[in-house]
């Protein structure tokens, strides 16, 4: 989405009625575009004014305050799912390690377009092989109801390679890990999004810095469920698609009942 398209959607976005995929695209765009972000904030502030126009000074029931405090503390308490958090961190680290290894294969060719083209098929196969190892990784450290999807991200043109993984659990927020390499000549920040088969997109996050090989590893914990979201896109600051790929389920860990 470019600035003109975003500006067209902003009034509806500010009023909370932009269609889901438009709203997600706007959120993604304003993360990296200061001018559109300012416009969005100004219009949102105007829209919020209407929220105070509702008649009535309704006092919530006295018991609601304690209910709210308990609810927030319940989700804020880190010890609530200590095993789950530890296990998920373990999964994330191992997955990242596997992905870095897989992308490392591609990075050998980064900057050598001609050779990369010739070796593209072999590289993709090698990456896919590394990614499929995730099944074993998750099997060894995963828990009940943990589902991992992964896939290779390929460049539409020019150098660059990557991999992505989503970790879905019922007990906590979903996670996404993206590893890229060979993108040193791209305009930063890179925006990562993921969409479902109906085209609804979620703005996952931005990559603001790359290492000297044009690589980065990023992990995000997402408020939205990633169930059904499989198509990953990485765009540069000019809005050009840099990498794209589709995730596939590696292993669904459903521990049998004892």
């Amino acid at each position: 989405m470019n600035c003109a398209t975003v500006r067209d959607v902003l009034p509806e976005f500010a009023l909370g009625v932009a269609p889901g995929d438009d709203a997600n695209a706007v959120e993604l765009h304003v993360e990296t575009c200061a001018a559109c972000r300012k416009e969005a904030v100004d219009l949102q502030r105007a829209a919020v004014t209407f929220g105070y126009a509702l008649a009535g000074n309704e006092t919530p029931p006295e018991t609601l305050e304690q209910t709210v405090v308990d609810a927030v503390q319940d989700v804020a308490r880190p010890a609530k799912h200590p095993h789950l958090r530890g296990r998920r961190t373990g999964i994330a680290l191992l997955v990242a390690a596997v992905l870095v290894a897989s992308v490392g294969i591609g990075s050998v060719f980064a900057g050598r377009e001609e050779r990369l083209r010739l070796q593209a098929e072999r590289t993709a196969l090698a990456e896919q092989s590394a990614v499929t190892n995730l099944g074993g990784v998750v099997q060894s450290v995963g828990g009940r109801n943990t589902k991992v999807l992964s896939g290779v991200l390929t460049a539409r043109s020019g150098p660059g390679t990557g991999s992505a993984v989503t970790i879905l659990t019922k007990e906590a927020e979903d996670q996404m890990i993206v590893v890229v390499n060979g993108l040193a000549d791209r305009t930063l920040p890179l925006a990562v999004s993921i969409s479902d088969t109906k085209g609804h997109a979620i703005g996952v996050g931005a990559i603001h810095t790359l290492d000297t090989a044009g690589g980065a590893t990023r992990a995000w914990e997402l408020q939205s469920s990633l169930t059904g979201f499989v198509d990953v896109t990485v765009r540069d600051a000019d809005g050009h698609t840099v990498l794209r790929g589709t995730l596939q389920a590696q292993t669904a860990v459903e521990s049998p009942s004892p």
Partner: protein, 173 residues
């Protein structure tokens, strides 16, 4: 916000004291029942905790951020629960209230809301009511009223810009 992130009791209660009334009122007026308003209030504060790390005071005010969360959640629910009878909306300029019953911050916000509503034409006002309070998209309004989508979007933008100007004038004065 750091207190909220840490689940600090006093921080949560301070945020609740400041925003529970407008959030609860929005839930009651848009969703139509006390149960729904209570659920909305609880969901809004839990969501605020989840998103607190992303709140940037340089990008916008806390009140805008929290009321946007409240409004988006209420509209999501409105749009999910189609066919449910909703109460008639009554705005502050249609039902004068006793100032003694309203705290000072809320009075200031309501004053801004009154100015904002007064700055709109009847057509803009009806349009805003249907989008902000009923969750109708520009396309739905365009199809209902038989007017071009572009016209609806232009009017929405115009209405918001008028409100923004009214807010700016209030701040300058």
């Amino acid at each position: 916000m750091e207190g909220l992130l840490a689940g600090d009791d006093a921080a949560i209660r301070a945020l609740y004291a400041r925003f529970s009334r407008p959030v609860y009122t929005m839930g009651l007026r848009l969703l139509g029942s006390r149960e729904a308003a209570e659920e909305l209030t609880q969901d809004v504060f839990v969501t605020a905790w989840r998103k607190a790390a992303r709140f940037d005071p340089h990008r916008g005010r806390l009140s805008t951020w929290l009321m946007t969360i409240a409004h988006n959640q209420a509209i999501d629910r409105l749009r999910r629960e189609t066919g449910v009878t909703r109460p008639k909306l009554v705005l502050v300029d249609e039902m004068p209230e006793s100032p003694q019953s309203v705290d000072e911050d809320l009075l200031l916000e309501r004053d801004a809301a009154l100015r904002a509503i007064a700055s709109l034409s009847d057509a803009e006002r009806r349009l805003v009511l249907r989008t902000y309070f009923r969750g109708m998209t520009a396309r739905e309004i365009s199809e209902d009223d038989g007017i071009p989508l572009g016209t609806v979007k232009t009017r929405l933008r115009s209405a918001l810009i008028k409100v923004r100007l009214a807010n700016q004038q209030k701040e300058l004065s």
